[in-house]
C-alpha cells in the first residue's frame, strides 16, 4: 500500500470512530447542556443499545438487514424508555441537584451493567452487519458498511441539529436550557422536557451502539470507553454545543486512528510508540489543556 492509501485508510477509520463518538457524545452533551446533569451512566445506555441489537438479531430470523433495521428502531426506544423512567423515578426526585445526580447516575451505571451481565452473560455477543459489501478504493478494499455508518451518523446529527434549531420542541428545549424558571413562567413543563431530553440523549447513545456493534461486538463492560471518550469530546467541544461536539469528536476520532495506523508507517523507527494508548494519552492531554486555557470548551459559552 502506498503512503497515500494508508493515510486514506487511517482517515476513514478515524471518520468511523468520530461518527459513532459524535453521536454518543451529542447525547451526553444534550443532557448536560439542557438538564445540567452529568450522566455517568451514559456509557451504559450505549452498552444497552448494543446488547439489545444482539438480542434482536439473535431472535429475529431472516436476513441480517431486517434484524438490523429493527434493532435500529427498537434499541433507542427501549433505552430511551429506561432513561425516561430513570429520570422520573430518580433524577426528578433529586431535583436535578448536580452532586446528587452524579452519585445517582453512578448507581444507575452499576444497575444497568450488572443487569446486562445477569441477562446476557459475560461473553462478547456478535451482531452481523446488515450487508456485506466491500468497496475497492485507491490501493485497498474497504467495508461498505463502515461508510454507511459514517453516512448514517451525518444524517442523524443533521436531523438532531434541525430538530434543535427549526422545530417548536427544539425551541422549547433551548429555552429550558437557558432558564428553566422563566421557561416554567411561559407554560413549559420542564419535567416533561427533562424526561424527553434524557431519553433522547440515551437514545442517541443506543443508536451509536447499534451502528458500531457489527464492527465491535456487544459486551456488558463496553460502556466505559464511550463514556470516557464522550466526556473528552464534550469537554473539548464545549458542554451543550452540538457543533463543538462534532468538531471535537472528529479531532479525537482522527487522533485515535491516525496515530496507530499512519504514524508507524511514516516514522518506522518510532513505530512501537504509536499505539492506541498514545492516542488516548494525547486526547487526555488535549482535554487537560482545554480545561486550563479554555474551560468552557472550544465552542462553549462561558457562564458567569
Amino acid at each position: 500500500m502506498s503512503l497515500g492509501s494508508i493515510f486514506l485508510l487511517a482517515l476513514l477509520e478515524g471518520l468511523v470512530s468520530a461518527s459513532v463518538l459524535a453521536l454518543t457524545a451529542s447525547g451526553l452533551s444534550l443532557v448536560f447542556g439542557i438538564m445540567r446533569v452529568v450522566n455517568v451512566a451514559h456509557g451504559e445506555f450505549f452498552m444497552l443499545g448494543a446488547v439489545i441489537a444482539w438480542f434482536v438479531s439473535h431472535w429475529v430470523g431472516g436476513p441480517p438487514a431486517v434484524a438490523f433495521v429493527l434493532a435500529l428502531g427498537v434499541a433507542p426506544l427501549v433505552v430511551g424508555g429506561i432513561a425516561a423512567l430513570a429520570d422520573t423515578l430518580v433524577l426528578k426526585r433529586l431535583n436535578y441537584e448536580p452532586e446528587a445526580t452524579i452519585v445517582a447516575t453512578i448507581g444507575l451505571l452499576y444497575i444497568l451493567q450488572q443487569g446486562a451481565l445477569s441477562l446476557f452473560g459475560p461473553n462478547a455477543l456478535p451482531v452481523p452487519a446488515p450487508f456485506d459489501l466491500r468497496l475497492q478504493l485507491i490501493g485497498f478494499g474497504y467495508s461498505g458498511y463502515k461508510l454507511a455508518v459514517i453516512a448514517a451518523a451525518v444524517v442523524i446529527l443533521l436531523s438532531l441539529w434541525l430538530i434543535l434549531t427549526h422545530t417548536r420542541i427544539g425551541l422549547v428545549m433551548r429555552a429550558t436550557q437557558i432558564d428553566r424558571n422563566t421557561a416554567r413562567a411561559f407554560g413549559i413543563n420542564v419535567d416533561r422536557v427533562y424526561a424527553m431530553v434524557f431519553a433522547m440523549g440515551a437514545g442517541l447513545a443506543a443508536i451509536a451502539a447499534v451502528l458500531i456493534v457489527p464492527i465491535q461486538q456487544a459486551h456488558y463492560l463496553m460502556g466505559a470507553d464511550p463514556l470516557l471518550l464522550s466526556f473528552s469530546v464534550v469537554i473539548i467541544g464545549g458542554l451543550g454545543s452540538l457543533r463543538g461536539t462534532v468538531v471535537a469528536a472528529l479531532l479525537i476520532g482522527m487522533v485515535d486512528q491516525v496515530i496507530p495506523i499512519f504514524l508507524p508507517v511514516v516514522l518506522p523507527d518510532y513505530g512501537a510508540y504509536f499505539t492506541p494508548t498514545l492516542a488516548k494519552i494525547l486526547a487526555t492531554l488535549v482535554v487537560a489543556l482545554v480545561l486550563v486555557f479554555r474551560p468552557q470548551g472550544l465552542f462553549g459559552k462561558r457562564h458567569a
Binding site: R168, L171, R174, I178, D179, A185, F186
Partner: protein, 231 residues
C-alpha cells in the same frame, strides 16, 4: 380578578411573606412598594408558583392557583415580566415572542398586535435578544408576556436602569393595557413612575401589606414613601 389571601411563603427555612393579602381588579394598576427584602418580588414569584406557598390562597377569577404546577399558572392568564427581564438571551427576538405565543396557544394575530405596540421589535426579529439595548430588552420582556393575552400582568421593576424615553414608553403601555381591562401588579421603586400609572399603592413591610392608599391624593412628598420606602 386576582386575590391573595393570607399568603405565607419563603425560601427554605426563611419565611418572607407573612400573611400577605391584596387584590387587584380588571383595568386596575396596583403598585407594590417597600424597602428591599420586604417580599415584593417574592409575592410575584409566589403567584407564578416559583416559590412554595405554605399557607393562604391565590385566586384568579375564583380559581385557586397556589397548588398548580408552575407551568400551569400562566395558562390561567397571568403574564410575568420578571426582575432583570430574564429573556431567553441566546434566542432571537422572534423566538422569545414564539415562546410567549405558545404558552396559551396564541397565533399570528396576537403576534401582530404585540409588534404593533412595540414596532422597534419588528425591526429586530432576527436579532439575538441578549444583544438588544436595555430598553429593547425590556420591550421584549413585556411583549413576550403580552403574547399570552393576560388577564393579569405582573411587572417586576420594569423601569430599572432605563432612560426616561423608555420609561415613558413603558408607562404608556401599562396605561393602554389598563384601558383594555388588564389587571396589573407593578413592583416599582421609583415614586414618580408609581404615581404616574398606579391606581393604588400597597406598601409592604415585614412580608405583609402595611397600608394601601389610592394614588389620587398622593404626591412624592406623601409620608408613606418616607415611612415604607425610605425616600
Amino acid at each position: 380578578m386576582l386575590r391573595l389571601e393570607g399568603i405565607e411563603a419563603g425560601y427554605g427555612a426563611v419565611q418572607v411573606l407573612r400573611g400577605l393579602s391584596f387584590a387587584v381588579e380588571p383595568g386596575e394598576v396596583l403598585c407594590l412598594m417597600g424597602r428591599n427584602g420586604v417580599g415584593k418580588t417574592t409575592a410575584l414569584r409566589a403567584i407564578m408558583g416559583q416559590v412554595p406557598v405554605s399557607a393562604g390562597a391565590i385566586l384568579v377569577d375564583g380559581v385557586a392557583v397556589q397548588d398548580l404546577a408552575a407551568h400551569d399558572v400562566p395558562k390561567e392568564g397571568i403574564g410575568y415580566v420578571p426582575q432583570g427581564r430574564r429573556l431567553f438571551g441566546d434566542l432571537t427576538v422572534a423566538e422569545n415572542i414564539e415562546i410567549g405565543l405558545m404558552t396559551r396557544g396564541r397565533d399570528a394575530r396576537v403576534r401582530e398586535k404585540v409588534l404593533t405596540i412595540f414596532p422597534r421589535l419588528r425591526e429586530r426579529l432576527g436579532q439575538i435578544s441578549r444583544t438588544l439595548s436595555g430598553g429593547e430588552q425590556q420591550m421584549l420582556a413585556i411583549a413576550r408576556a403580552l403574547c399570552l393575552e393576560p388577564k393579569v400582568l405582573l411587572l417586576d421593576e420594569p423601569t430599572e436602569g432605563l432612560q426616561p424615553s423608555m420609561i415613558a414608553l413603558i408607562r404608556d403601555t401599562v396605561v393602554a393595557l389598563k384601558e383594555t381591562g388588564v389587571a396589573t401588579i407593578l413592583v416599582e421603586q421609583r415614586v414618580d413612575a408609581a404615581l404616574s400609572v398606579a391606581d393604588r399603592i400597597a406598601f409592604i413591610s415585614g412580608g405583609q401589606v402595611a397600608e394601601t392608599v389610592d394614588t389620587g391624593g398622593m404626591t412624592e412628598q406623601s409620608p408613606q414613601f418616607a415611612a415604607y420606602v425610605g425616600v
